[in-house]
Symmetry: D2
Subunit: 219 residues, 4 copies
């Protein structure tokens, strides 16, 4: 049976909720596909988020991993293209750590590309009326850290595998409306973000070669 892992993050920066975890929980409830769908909540903690992810990978042995995080200021669902080997925190994480210009994996490659069909996902979301775009940077905070660790792990496991290679990627979602109630930042209802995640899982399970659609990056 095909196994899917969705991860979200706990709240950070003083917030009481994180829409990434809310959307992941709702997506699990609404999931009706034939694949088995598991979820994991990751800490916003540079030291602990990687090990927590690896535990979930070990436990569920997923064929597809979609890690999800909140990107305040973004106006749509962002399908991240690339994870870079650097931690550079503008604010402290939930444990009070603020790494600056530290490699995530000492000696690891500068970057990994995600392996979700990001262009196909974007095209599918837009057809469904959900704002979406490919993004060229997942930042340098814990979202990028998890994305890099995920791709590093999947690459390492790839060599050992006998079945088809597991695929993985990272998706940023906008603020929930209640996080942006002063009207100064874009937001997206958690229902809509949830619908987006469900579509991304569906598309990623069914599309084997990404669509060649030009550009379309978020600024």
């Amino acid at each position: 049976m095909t196994v899917v892992l969705l991860t979200g993050f706990e709240p950070f920066d003083g917030a009481s909720t994180n829409p990434s975890w809310q959307a992941v929980v709702q997506a699990e409830r609404r999931w009706s596909g034939s694949a088995r769908l598991h979820t994991a909540e990751l800490p916003v903690d540079f030291e602990r988020c990687g090990p927590t992810l690896v535990e979930a990978l070990d436990e569920y042995r997923p064929d597809l991993v979609v890690a999800v995080g909140q990107a305040g200021g973004r106006a749509g669902i962002a399908l991240e293209r690339v994870a870079v080997n650097i931690d550079d925190a503008r604010i402290p994480d939930n444990a009070g750590n603020q790494p600056v210009d530290v490699p995530i994996v000492e000696g690891g490659p500068a970057a990994y590309f995600g392996t979700l069909p990001v262009k196909a996902c974007v095209a599918d979301l837009r057809e469904a009326g959900i704002p979406a775009a490919v993004s060229q940077t997942a930042g340098t905070f814990t979202c990028n850290h998890v994305f890099y660790r995920l791709m590093h792990e999947l690459t390492a496991r790839r060599g050992a595998g006998t079945g088809p290679e597991p695929r993985g990627g990272f998706v940023h979602i906008p603020f929930a409306p209640e996080q942006a109630s002063d009207g100064r930042h874009p937001s997206m209802a958690v229902d809509v973000s949830t619908a987006a995640l469900l579509r991304i899982v569906d598309t990623s399970l069914s599309v084997t070669t990404d669509r060649a659609l030009p550009g379309g990056a978020l600024h």
Copy 2:
């Protein structure tokens, strides 16, 4: 019985829908208050939108009027503070007219303030988790035109009235998600915009003196 009039606009600028009218229609369906709620769809046409509004005012004799329009690019519900006596169109209206620096009412005052309790509405929406702000400009297209004509009419009728004065104002709502699917502009689910309109009507019917909340204008 208290009478409420909600107006929205027809589609324009090549769009197939206008979320202002969609939200007004949904608000009418979901309305469960004791006041009688009427709606009117206004043309995006500098010559015809004013007369269509006046017809609705004559027909329904509302105690409260909330005119609604779409403001592409805005991230939240915008409670407009002031209507100015000028048409200045960046694009042609649906009839192909593009007035430039033409007064709406020849010899009329430079501006009217709306008479909704905009600060109380903003506070209420934010408490409900809906992005909202006071806005200082409704632009110079048909939205501002309707807002100015509305306040001009209500002011004229005020003198003749025997009951309490009718109140009115203008509310801009963001793009619907499907209008902003490239992820470059903020959007708001029509369900959320509808909930906002219902709350604005409720607040406007119950609040007689606006709350003194500082600033908070949208940029």
Copy 3:
């Protein structure tokens, strides 16, 4: 002899300089026209900015007044179209006062239109390669207050005059680069803002009827 008055503001909100006053000072130095050009620095103080302006009007009896202020976040020179009769401060002024929803002139009109040829100024600035646009709102802080008081005074004096009516308006300029050094907000070199003010004075002295150019408002 034709007399011109340029006003700028003192620093506020913790800043050590205000580019509006820097540009006005530089404009006076670089002025080579036949008109006599005077300047006045206005306090960022709701109670004192109006009287200081009126003193300068009484002293210089200008034919043209261009009041200038800083608009952080704007990307170009903003030719303001309209001043509204409201003080609504998001932050305290330099005297610690923070009026909320208070009329500037009790019983005054809701708004005044400025009387500079704003469209001609914008066209001229753009031809010179200087970013510029008409703006529909000067906000509700001391800039709008000065603009409203200016137009209120010029209107009152108009009735008494025997010569041609004095003209006046308000111009917002962006942050200076050193105020926006984190790269998150647009800025404009003070040299460029100064050149813009000199052109606006020139255009306002030579153009008697504004050009009919469509829209073009800043968002």
Copy 4:
């Protein structure tokens, strides 16, 4: 003698000038350091920009390379951190080619980090009052292509070298004011961009270990 190479781009997308090349030309004129400074203008052409860069590297054998490009919409000088191995063009280049999701170097690493002291450069520029920030993405057009090719070449040459390793990176500059005259996008006077490039060269020549300054990415 230390040798520096600055590159800029020719105009593209219908523009008649490209401020990156204008700033590079002005920087060469104003350069008064002891290093020898060379310049090269690169075509906005996915097929030809790489070879043209390599020719200049072969001819001048620089110790430091700063490649410069225009980033419309950015508000400050952007010190790019990382180049990714992908061409993905939203618009055709000057030769009419529009590669979509094509690797720049088949079999090359997913990304290279630049080797300029980007944090020290940003700190120095801000102290000088010039808006600046580290950027996490140089896009996927010819700027990123040149950046990736540059780092690929410098890495290959590093192995063969006997002296200290050549360093290189990419810098994005905002629109020139005349490219943004509608006031809708930020801009920077070419004089200011030129001063920024001169400072970046100075800092890069004198700083051997980058400063550890937190975050500060452009959005």
